[in-house]
Every structure is written in structure tokens, then in C-alpha cells.
Amino acid sequence: MVIVFIQVVAIILQLAAAILALRLVPVTGRRLAWVLISSALALIVVRRGIALIRLISTDLSAMPNFAGRMLESMVLLVISILFVAGITLIRTVFLSVKQAEQEARTARDELESRVHERTAELEQTNQALLAEVDERKQVEKALKESEARWRGFLQSAPDGIVIVDRDARIAVVNAKAEELFGYSQQELIGKTVETLVPERYRDVHVKHRSGYTDAPRSRPMGVGLELYGRRKDGSEFPVEISLSPLQTEQGLLVTAIIRDITERKRIQEALQQSEQKYKTLVENLPQRIFLKDRNSVYISCNDNYARDLNIPPDQIAGKTDYDFFPKELADKYRGDDKRIMAEGKTEDIEEAYIQDGREYIVHTVKTPIKDESGSITGVLGIFWDITEQKRSEEQIKRLNEDLRHRAAELEAANKELEAFSYSVSHDLRAPLRSVDGFSQALLEDYADKLDEQGKDYLGRVRSAAKRMAQLIDDLLRLSRVTRAEMHREEVDLSAMARDAAESLKQSQPEREVEFDIAPDLTAYADPQLLRIVLDNLLGNAWKFTGKHKRAYIMFSSVQQEGKQVYFVRDDGAGFDMAYIDKLFVPFQRLHSMEEFPGSGIGLAIVQRIIRRHGGSVWAEGAVEHGATFYFTLS
């Protein structure tokens, strides 16, 4: 019995173990293992059951070896217990492992969720950061752009720019500044700004700049002073500098904008010089000069005018013509000003002017003055005394009138003379013709009634009539020479003289006369009249050498006091210089008719022709030593 019990308990235990083993599946997850173990245990249970049934069905008492059987059942029991205990232990272990696992999982999950949270948080932060970075980038870009712009401006600025720090150390220099001072940027950065200041100004500059940094504000530097920059080579140039402070994180910076004003100064100086010149000119001009405004009120005048008005030049401003001149004259001046300003045209005016109670005539030039926009702002006047000139002009006018009057009289006289000449030519000759004609008729028709003396007398009457006709002709020739119109041209006097000489030679081919005619003598004269001159002079020379066996006649010219003097020289009869003043008088003769025939009109004609050419004629001679006739032409 006990054995059976034990065995049953063992089976139950083993069954429990099998069940427990199966229950381990969900705990361990090792389904196959635990099913196999459970199946094995179940098989053991089944075998034990069968063994039990058999046991029961057999008499236990019958059983041999009870004690052995008993031990066997006990061992079986122990094994079953061990099974159960083992499995339970395994289960516990597994369960604890599982729990630990579970815990670990929970912990992990928790961790994971927290990680998630954290990650989200981080992401947000990150995004925020990114946004910030973006923004920064933008700012940086803007900054860069601005800086580029600034640099661009700095470099391209037409003026030199030097930025110094609080200690006056140069921080920035632009290209223009480099160019102006002849330093490179590298040479200047970090140096004190006094590097750029001429040595003699350096000390005072240091003082000034510390004064500036104490109360910095934008302003031009050294107002009223002449500032100079010093180049690297030590040369100086005039500058204009404006300063502006710049507060930065690094402290106060001062920007100096430096302009080279060499050119401007040069222009200014030139302008000043020109102004000075102009002022000197205005002051020294003998003319009176004044400037009036739109209302004819004086603005300024030159010294000469002020002296006229008996006031210092600086007191003219504000005065008007009414302060200096009688109302009538001032009215006139003002009227002129108004008209000139209204019409905008310069006028030349001749007008009265009173100075120290004396009246003058002046020539005034008034010009409207315009401003830049072209509107008229006043009138500029310049005037000078023309009283004398006017007086002379009037005198000239009067003289001219006299002259005109006289010319008219002369013309009338000339006309009369012409009429006279005509009547001489026509009427004076007609009776002579009668005298000669009827004398001849007497001689012919009454020859038998006249004795020799009567015939001789008639012959004298006839020759006298003929001589008188010749005199009339000569007179007419003389007057014709005076009246004939002149047509000047280039005349070849040498050719003309050769021609005249040829005619003379032909008239008396038996004579031995040598003509010496200089070549290329020309003159600007009337050819017909000059031919008469040469005919007469050479004709005279021919005539007055007629008593000599041989003769020499010369035509040439000499220079006397810059004038060309032509002359005809002969070695003939000559003349007594005592009678020189009769030489050129019409019908005056120095020789008897028997000695040398002629009417004495030739030289008078020569003189008239030469005078009409604006020249003069004169003669030298000695009895039997020839004569020389000189003439000039203008």
C-alpha cells in the first residue's frame, strides 16, 4: 500500500512537473524544448501509471522483495520531487530572468521615449539654431556688402581719406590718400597721423588733435588757416581737411577727408592776380568808370571819377547823380540808365558833364550789367573828356566847309578858265587868221602897189600873227596839262627816254650827240604826261647843246633821302644860277630868240606835270657848263 501511494504521489508530482514544464513555454518562449520535456515527463507518467496498475493488480504482498520495491518507489518519489523542484526552480529562474527582462524592457522603453522627447527638443533647438545661423548669414552678407560698398566708396572717393584711432594711429588709408601723399597703405597703417603733416606743424597738430578727441564733432579742420600735407618725398601741398568722429567698439575713430587744393589755389591766385590787374587797370585808366545798381544808385567807381566828384572812392556807394549834378543833367543821366537797362543794349552817348562848375563834353559808354541768370542788375559806365576833340572836330568841320566852299569857288574858276581857254583857242585865233590871211591877200593882189619896205612890213605882220598863234597854242597846252585827267600806271621811263632821244636824233641826224640812258628806270605815273616831261627836258638838252660840236646827254636817277630822284643832264649852254627863279615861269626865257628859239613854256609845263604827280623839280647849271634838271614823283 505504501508503495502505491508513493508511486501515485510520484506520478502526480511527475504530472505536475510536466504541466509546469509546459507552463514554462510562455515564460521562456522555448516551446519545443519544454513540450519535449513535458512529453517525456508525460511518457514517464504513463509508464509509471501502467506499472502502478500492474502493481495494484498484483498482490503486493506477493511481491518479492518488498523492501527493494519500497526503495525503488522512494527513489522514484524523490526523482519526481526533484523534477517538480527542478522545474519550479527553472521556472523561478526563468520568471526572474523574464521579470528582469521585462524590467529592462520597460526601462528601455522609458529611456527610448525620453530619448524621443529629448530628440524632438533638440530638433527644435536645432531648427532655431539653423534659423539663427541663417539670419546671421544674412546679416553677415549684408555686413560684407556694406563693407564692400564702404570700401568701394573709400577707394573710389575723389578725396584722400585717412581714418585714425584715438591715439592718432592711422587705421585706414584709401587709394587717393596713398596717391596724394606718395605712401603705400602698408607704410602708413599704424603710424601717427603726423607722418602726413609738415614737420613745422607737427607739434601744434598734436595739440589740436587731442583737443579734437576731447570734443569730437564733424567739422572742417583749421578754418581760416592754410593747411598743408607732406608727401613722402618731403614736398608739401595745400589741403583742405574735414574731420568727423566715429564711435566704434574699438573706441573713437576719426575720419579725415583730405582734398588737394593745389589747383584750386592756383586758380584762386590767378583769379586774384587777374582781379588785381583789372583793378589796377581800372584805377589807372584815365577814363572815369562807375557802376550803378538797378535804380541808378552808385555802387562803386574808380579813383579818377571819385576825384572829379571830390569824394573818396569808398563814399560813392549809395549816392546818386542828384548828389553831384544839376537836376536837369541828373534827370538825363538817369533816363539814359533806364533806357539802357530796359533795352539791354550798350550805348555810346555824347553828353554834357560838369566838374568843378566847368562844363565838358564827354563820350560815355553805358553797358547793362547782367547776373548769371541774365537779368539786368545795373549799369556800368565809362566816360572820357572829348571837349577838346569836339572842339577840334568842329574846327575841322568848319575848315572842311571852308575848303568845300573854296573848292566850289575853284571849280567855278576852273570852269570859267575853261570857257576862257576855249574862247582864246577859238576867238583869239580867228582875228589872227584875218591879219595873216589879208596880209597875204595884200601881198598877192597888190604886190605891184607895194614897195619893198611895204612888203617887209606885211611880212612882219604875218610873222607876228603866227608867233602870237604859237603863244596861244602854248598857253592852251599849258592849261591842258593842268586840266587833263591823270591815269597812273607803271611807266618804263628808260624806254620812254630812248624813244624821245631817237626822235630827236632823227630830227637832226647830222648832230653828234651821245645819249646815256640808264636802264630799268620806272615810275608810277601818267604815261602821257611823263612823256611830255621827258620830251621837254630831253628836247631842251638837245636844243641847248646845239651850239656845241659834240654833246653828251644823260638820263638817270639817284637816291636822295629815301627818294628816287630822276635827272636829265647835258653839257650844253647851261644857265646863270642867278636867274634860277625865272626858269620855270611861263614865257620867261634866259636866252635870246636868235640864240635859242622857243616860247618859254616847256619848263612851266614840266613843273606843272611834276607837281600834279606830287613831286618837285629843280635845276642846277652854269653858263657853258651844262645844266641838270632833277625831278621826283610821289
Partner: protein, 150 residues
């Protein structure tokens, strides 16, 4: 030919006598009609005034014309007879004391055929008259219209 008339226009009786004498001495035997001033000369040529009814078809062979004449002067006579169809081509010789160039020029420009200066020397005057007659009355072929009109 010798029947051809010479018209002498001259106011000075001495000159008329001397001219006639010179012509005669120069063997010019043509009839000479004397007009003592310009009006008379024109009357003769145009058959007017004292010569009214004269056959104007009978024109002189030559006119010897003085310039200085009473009433109508010689230049005017010349101008008028040059503007008349009948006397347009009539030979006119100016015979005058004047040697003035102006007169010569004006005479020719008004259509004078010749200009002769009366010399004071009578011998020269005779010579001039002779040559004048020879030339104008013998050598010169008269203009066609004068012939036609004759």
C-alpha cells in the same frame, strides 16, 4: 563833178572871205553856198525858212561846218542833220579854230566825217582847202543815198 555844191557854214565874214579865197587858190571851183548861222544851214538843207521850197533832193557834196555859230551851234546842226533821213549820210567836215580834244571827240561821235583845224597861217589854210576839195570832191565816192536823192 564841178557842179557839186559846197555848203559853207561860217559866221565870221573874214573867215568866209578867206575860206572862199583859199578854196579858189586851191583850185576848187565848185559853187559854194554860205550859211551864216546854224539855223540858216538847217533851213538850206531841209528847205525851210528862207530856203522854203528849195529842192531838198539837191544835197551838197560836202558841208564845211564851223562849230562856234550864233543861234544853233555847229554841233547841234550836225546832230540834227544826222538824225534826218535825207542828210543822214551827208559828208560833213568840221572846219574850226578849236583844237580842243573835247570838240574833236564830240564832233566825231556826232558823225562828222572829218575834223580840220583852221590854221592861222594863210598859206597852210590854202593848202588845207586844196586838199580838202581834192579829197571830198574828187577822190571820195559819195554815199549811195546822196546819189539816189540827187
Amino acid at each position: 563833178m564841178s557842179s557839186q555844191i559846197i555848203l559853207l557854214v561860217e559866221d565870221n565874214p573874214d573867215d568866209i572871205d578867206l575860206t572862199l579865197r583859199a578854196l579858189k587858190k586851191g583850185n576848187i571851183t565848185n559853187e559854194v553856198v554860205v550859211a551864216r548861222d546854224g539855223t540858216e544851214a538847217l533851213d538850206y538843207l531841209f528847205g525851210t525858212g528862207q530856203y522854203a521850197g528849195r529842192d531838198t533832193g539837191e544835197v551838197p557834196a560836202v558841208v564845211l561846218l564851223d562849230l562856234k555859230l550864233p543861234k544853233i551851234d555847229g554841233m547841234e546842226v550836225l546832230r540834227r542833220l544826222r538824225s534826218d533821213q535825207n542828210t543822214r549820210l551827208l559828208p560833213v567836215v568840221i572846219l574850226t579854230s578849236s583844237k580842243e580834244e573835247d570838240d574833236v571827240a564830240r564832233g566825231y561821235s556826232l558823225g562828222a566825217n572829218s575834223y580840220i583845224h583852221k590854221p592861222v597861217d594863210f598859206d597852210q589854210f590854202v593848202e588845207a582847202a586844196r586838199q580838202l576839195g581834192l579829197y571830198w570832191l574828187v577822190l571820195n565816192e559819195p554815199p549811195p543815198c546822196t546819189r539816189e536823192a540827187r
